[in-house]
């Protein structure tokens, strides 16, 4: 056991531990260079950037092809060596975004960032910030990684808490073992150290899957200093790793104050590794690790792909051809499916699930509510079948039991269904909902509870009971001192 490293156990109420079939093996395979990439000019956190290149221009992998120094954003890079073919519009779930199409010339080398240093301790804080910004890594978080560039709403000197999330709570997720294999474990610790240097005020919390805490504990022990971060162990039940929830779980009451909550940064393990790569190896965001999950792939493993690779380049090689599958990036409970296979992989991708449509009227059991719950090793099947017909609510209480924020989903559902939109809904904490969609998942009557709650929130805003929360980075006022370049 890791003597000297104190591990704090914390957890949310509710939640649901998924153990779906088609989890990725720890193996990492590199996908061959695509012949053509499509680079969206909005990837991850921040607003869309302006293209710096024109059709016909030669570009190098790692070259910045889009940036915007005025709004909150991070630069976008060419991911292959080649020629810009055209500028196109992509229809994504966030609306229409511009993208650059690059024809690859087949060479695999890339341009490192100027000024990176193997011995990063030698680098000044300013230099590290500029490396992080120009690598694009700063966009890999829900609220951006703060630097003195406009990469987040706050500046890095204001960050009070840095939470590193490795809980593996999503139904499908990158495997910690694959991410931290071999020397990557040390890179991970280095990455945190780098961030510690640019965020001098921050307390560092490392939140890890309780089933993998031994692995992480050993990494922390190797640094010889058990005090520099707080290690928290959390049961990997969904949505334990949700940014908002995790902040509350770890910080407790302090997170309730919205001004304090703003000064918290939550980063994934994969992001920390990218921080290391950018500063130590000078590697911009030209590739990412995507786990192929779900029963639709011929094999489930981790795939290293160049950003901008069209999905069809992956699906044509690895997807089973026989049946109908839907492809869902990152979270199969909350994200939209991608129907257009020419859509590219962008830097926010971590997993790509292929879920069978399964209209055949038979399916494997994957309920964890009944007897199967007594054997947590039972792997649950994964398909898009509804597994039953729509029925009236029977007040079974399953939704309330799994709700991570402690609201009563079926009660809100009933109000919204009868169109009783009033302050009563706010009183029942409808705005606490974090849209994890677990209530819809567990409902035996197959009621789209979560959708109704979301609709209720929207109606309350439309009727003027509450102001629209600012989601657009442009609307949020900037705080702190920024370097304007």
């Amino acid at each position: 056991m890791g003597e000297g490293v104190k591990v704090i156990n914390k957890t949310i109420h509710g939640g649901y531990h998924f153990n779906l079939e088609g989890k990725p093996q720890d193996r990492l395979i590199e996908l061959g260079l695509p012949s053509e990439v499509v680079i969206p000019l909005k990837q991850g956190f921040g607003r869309e950037v302006k293209s710096l290149v024109k059709a016909g221009e030669e570009v190098k992998a790692g070259q910045i092809i889009g940036r915007d120094d005025l709004g909150i954003s991070s630069p976008v890079h060419a991911s292959v060596n080649g020629t810009v073919e055209s500028l196109v519009k992509l229809e994504s779930s966030q609306g229409s975004i511009n993208a650059v199409v690059i024809k690859a010339d087949g060479t695999i080398d890339w341009q490192p960032l100027a000024g990176h240093n193997r011995d990063w301790q030698q680098l000044s804080v300013d230099k590290i910030e500029s490396l992080l910004y120009s690598s694009g890594v700063t966009s890999l978080s829900g609220k951006g990684i703060p630097t003195r560039f406009k990469t987040s709403f706050i500046s890095n000197r204001e960050v009070e808490e840095l939470i590193v999330q490795g809980i593996e709570d999503d139904p499908y997720h990158l495997s910690l073992a694959a991410l931290l294999a071999g020397e990557r474990g040390d890179h991970f610790i280095e990455g945190i150290r780098i961030l510690q240097k640019i965020m001098p005020q921050a307390n560092i919390h490392l939140a890890v899957n309780s089933e993998r805490q031994q692995m992480v504990k050993e990494l922390v022990l190797r640094t010889g200093d058990p005090e520099w971060l707080a290690l928290c162990s959390l049961h990997p039940k969904y949505p334990q790793g949700n940014e908002q929830l995790l902040t509350r779980t770890i910080l407790g009451d302090r997170a309730k104050n919205s001004a304090d909550a703003k000064k918290v940064v939550v980063l994934s393990v994969a992001t920390i590794l990218k921080v290391h790569d950018a500063v130590v190896e000078g590697k911009p965001l030209i590739e990412c690790m995507v786990a192929l999950c779900g029963p639709g792939w011929k094999e489930n493993f981790h795939l290293k792909v160049r950003i901008g690779t069209p999905l069809k380049a992956i699906s044509s090689t690895y997807l089973q051809q026989a049946a109908n599958y839907r492809l869902i990036p990152n979270n199969i409970l909350t994200n939209r499916a991608i129907t257009d296979l020419s859509f590219p992989v962008d830097r926010s991708f971590t997993t790509l699930a292929a879920v069978s449509e399964n209209k055949a009227k038979k399916s494997r059991s994957y309920s964890r509510t009944f007897l199967a719950a007594f054997n947590p090793l039972t792997e649950q099947g994964c398909d898009a079948n509804n597994h039953g017909e729509l029925r009236p609510c029977i007040f079974c209480g399953n939704c309330e039991e799994v709700c991570p924020v402690g609201i009563i989903p079926h009660l809100l559902d009933k109000h919204v269904k009868r169109n009783l939109i009033s302050k009563e809904l706010i009183r029942y904490d409808i705005f606490e909902c974090i849209e994890c969609n677990l209530c819809s998942f567990v409902c035996p009557s197959k009621i789209p509870v979560a959708r109704h709650i979301k609709l209720g929130c929207q109606k309350l805003i439309d009727y003027g009971y509450k102001q629209q929360p600012a989601v657009d980075p442009e609307e949020e006022e900037l705080v702190g001192d920024y370097y304007v370049g």
Partner: protein
């Protein structure tokens, strides 16, 4: 040769069978499952549906059902079949009339539970009347399973208790015991006039030992006497989370408490706690009927209050009312109180916005 699922699909397409469509659809989905897929996030949903949920209750009712046949002969099965037939007919006619889906899962539970709380001597036509009445007025008029206010089986039972009081309270049978028991005969024929509860009220005190009560040697309603099986099934339902543990615990606990107090004060009227727990329909009611999620409070504190009140009412009814058996009346009464209990609990749990320091028009 066509497979059954294809035949069902073909029949559903036929215009001439339009009226029968709810029946065919129900049969199809019951036998083969759903062919619908999720529309967007969440892309996967749990395999648990209301059908399986209810089938767990049916499964839990099996010990009582088999015991009913063992104790009272094949006539018990006849009563169950009559109840299922007439309850089912009511549901089907209603579904066709309202052009809605048949919700067979809820019906199965109601119509199976109903005969189990009847005296074994009841004429079959009364079973039919009660089943029809229960399903119709207990459930369908409110909009079907999930929208009913009262437990449908109890509505049926209370109706025939009021309409045919002598048949419901005076004619009981001694159960067939030993060997294959009732599996070899159509019905039990030793008539007795008293269940242990009635005997206690007539001053005969304890006519049966606790072991006899536990394993069903005493007369009573068909499915209520094999109490060991009921306890096991009740625990099964609680462990699988089909029924919530709070209500049975609160109900049985409060019966024990109130009857101990009552027995100390008025021993001739109020029976001692263990006897109360092991007689009449208390265990069956507590594990199967009071826990019906639709007609009991959904809030945690509400469930405790519900169980507590049920216990108090049951002891009062058993000790002081004209009817010796108070379980069904208590549950019916508390079903009516359910919305009130939930409203009060929610009012306490969620403080008004003004008092939370949330300004108007946040």
């Amino acid at each position: 040769m066509l497979r059954l699922c294809e035949i069902l699909n073909n029949l559903q397409e036929k215009e001439s069978l339009k009226v029968m469509r709810p029946v065919l659809r129900a049969a199809d989905s019951y036998l083969y499952g759903s062919d619908e897929v999720t529309l967007g996030a969440p892309h996967i949903v749990d395999n648990l549906d209301s059908r399986r949920y209810m089938l767990m209750v049916v499964l839990a009712l099996m010990p009582s059902t088999i015991a009913a046949i063992y104790f009272y002969g094949w006539r018990a099965l006849a009563m169950i079949l009559v109840s299922l037939l007439f309850g089912g007919l009511t549901e089907v006619l209603f579904a066709i009339f309202r052009k809605k889906e048949i919700q067979a899962e809820g019906l199965l539970v109601t119509s199976l539970m109903f005969p189990l709380i009847l005296p074994p001597t009841l004429p079959l036509w009364i079973v039919a009347v009660g089943s029809t009445f229960g399903v119709f007025f207990g459930k369908e008029v409110f909009g079907g399973t999930g929208r009913n206010i009262f437990n449908a089986a109890i509505v049926g039972r209370v109706f025939i208790t009021v309409a045919f009081p002598s048949l419901m309270t005076t004619v009981w049978q001694e159960p067939l015991l030993g060997g294959l028991g009732g599996f070899l005969s159509y019905q039990a024929d030793v008539i007795t006039s008293a269940t242990p509860l009635i005997a206690y009220r007539m001053g005969e005190l304890m006519t049966y030992s606790y072991t006899e009560l536990l394993f069903g040697a005493a007369p009573g309603s068909m499915g209520e006497t094999f109490r060991f099986g009921i306890i096991m099934a009740g625990i099964f339902l609680m462990v699988t989370k089909v029924s919530n543990w709070r209500i049975p615990v609160a109900y049985l606990g409060s019966v024990a408490i109130f009857s101990s107090i009552g027995h100390l004060v008025m021993p001739e009227l109020v029976a001692p706690p263990l006897f109360q727990l092991l007689s009449g329909g208390l265990l069956f009611g507590a594990f199967f009927m009071a826990t019906d999620p639709v007609t009991s409070p959904f809030t945690g504190p509400g469930k405790w209050l519900f169980g507590l009140m049920l216990g108090l009412l049951t002891v009062l009814f058993r000790g002081f009312s004209g009817a010796v058996e108070g379980v069904v009346f208590s549950i019916l009464l508390m079903n009516a109180m359910t919305p009130l209990i939930d409203t009060v609990v929610l009012k306490v749990r969620y403080k008004p916005l003004e008092r939370r320091g949330v300004p108007d028009n946040v």
